[in-house]
């Protein structure tokens, strides 16, 4: 029981949750982009489907990262963290972009394989990975300075 209490205390009070959860969108968008490029290279539908699942998961994990980020901002930084405005804007954009990608791919499963939408679809994946990376960089600036 003591261990459980310490674990709960560590998760709720000691460790900043945002620092843990932000790695999910970064990793998932990056892997999704990788799988999409591999799908195009190998012309493999399984890889393309995996990319779709990964980008869907990244949309969900972005919500979690945003909520924990706001919690840490209010509790650990007492509402006085730098770069908050930029991070909120980029985070909302990332969530919107990944959601649109997932919904569009869900409604139109051929979106990657059609020449008229291939580049758009690929660019959206690259953009979401770029956004997640910039968000991670800004988080590092807050913690470690620039």
């Amino acid at each position: 029981m003591e261990f459980i209490n310490r674990l709960i205390n560590a998760l709720v009070d000691v460790h900043p949750l945002h620092s843990m959860t932000v790695h999910f969108p970064i990793a998932l968008t990056g892997t999704a982009l990788l799988f999409l490029v591999l799908a195009l290279w190998r012309r493999n539908e399984a890889l393309e489907q995996a990319a779709f699942y990964l980008i869907t998961l990244s949309a969900v994990s972005t919500i979690v990262a945003g909520l924990t980020g706001y919690r840490d901002y209010m509790i650990r930084f007492e509402g006085d963290a730098p770069l908050v405005n930029v991070k909120i804007f980029l985070g909302v954009t990332l969530f919107g972009l990944t959601t649109v990608i997932a919904l569009t791919r869900w409604r139109r499963s051929e979106i990657l394989w059609r020449p008229s939408t291939m580049i758009l679809y690929l660019s959206a994946f690259a953009g979401s990975f770029g956004l997640a990376t910039v968000l991670g960089f800004l988080g590092g600036v807050i913690l470690y300075g620039f």
Partner: protein, 243 residues
């Protein structure tokens, strides 16, 4: 496209008839991407304009602490002995204040690496510009006092506010991480469970300075401003007095 290949164990289907975009299709899609990027950029700039951009601390523009160091009414006027106290408040004059200002600004550049304090060579006193309105004793040309060579830093006025503003959450009485309390002079000099964190007269070897200068402290929130770190350094180098 079938999606049951992973259920049946059949080889994943391959797109043998994949068509690459033509030049027109590629240009059109890239154009859409560019337009959307521009719109997004405009929205971002508009949003930052509406919300005021970044907090001042990131930009190194913490006006309160910066002014506390750079303000011409600070050290020089205090350091100068005034033979006759003036009954009326004297506005800041550009006479001797100007001698000390550059030396302080030199060490409070935002983003500057913490470095040993520059050696302050005696600065020749500038030619006083006689004011026709308020001739004050501070305008008389006088040799630069010894006190001007080292910045006058007060613990109560310059250092303690920094501790209270930036350190009190973890080292302020209610929470005393590592046993270190920074809410009063005796506690500051006592140090932590591991011993003193300040070596009077030697800021470079003071653990507290090492922590804040390297950015390891404060753990929560942004780093201390260079001007705040410099105030702590100057106070320690001056002997870490309870002044």
């Amino acid at each position: 496209m079938t999606d049951s290949f992973w259920k049946t164990g059949a080889p994943s289907p391959r797109r043998q008839d994949l068509l690459w975009p033509s030049l027109t299709q590629a240009l059109r899609q890239l154009g859409i991407v560019a337009v959307m990027a521009v719109v997004w950029g405009v929205l971002l700039l508009g949003y930052l304009g509406l919300t005021g951009g970044q907090p001042a601390e990131v930009m190194g523009g913490d006006s309160e602490s910066t002014l506390a160091v750079v303000s011409p009414t600070d050290t020089p006027v205090v350091a100068l002995p005034s033979p006759t106290p003036s009954p009326t408040p004297i506005p800041p004059t550009p006479t001797l204040v100007a001698t000390a200002e550059p030396t302080i600004q030199e060490t409070s550049v935002p983003g500057a690496e913490p470095s040993p304090r520059p050696t302050h060579t005696p600065v020749p006193s500038p030619t006083p510009t006689p004011s026709p309105v308020l001739p004050t004793p501070t305008q008389t040309p006088a040799p630069v006092p010894e006190a001007l060579e080292t910045p006058q830093v007060s613990f109560a006025a310059d250092v303690l506010p920094v501790f209270q503003r930036r350190c009190r959450n973890c080292h302020g009485g209610e929470k005393t991480e590592e046993g270190l309390v920074l809410s009063a002079y005796p506690d500051v000099m006592t140090g932590s469970w591991n011993g003193p964190v300040i070596k009077p007269g030697n800021a470079e070897e003071s653990y507290l300075v090492e922590m804040v200068a390297s950015g390891k402290m404060p753990k929560k929130g942004p780093r201390l401003l260079p001007s705040e770190i410099q105030a702590i350094r100057d106070w320690i180098d001056a002997g870490a007095l309870d002044n």
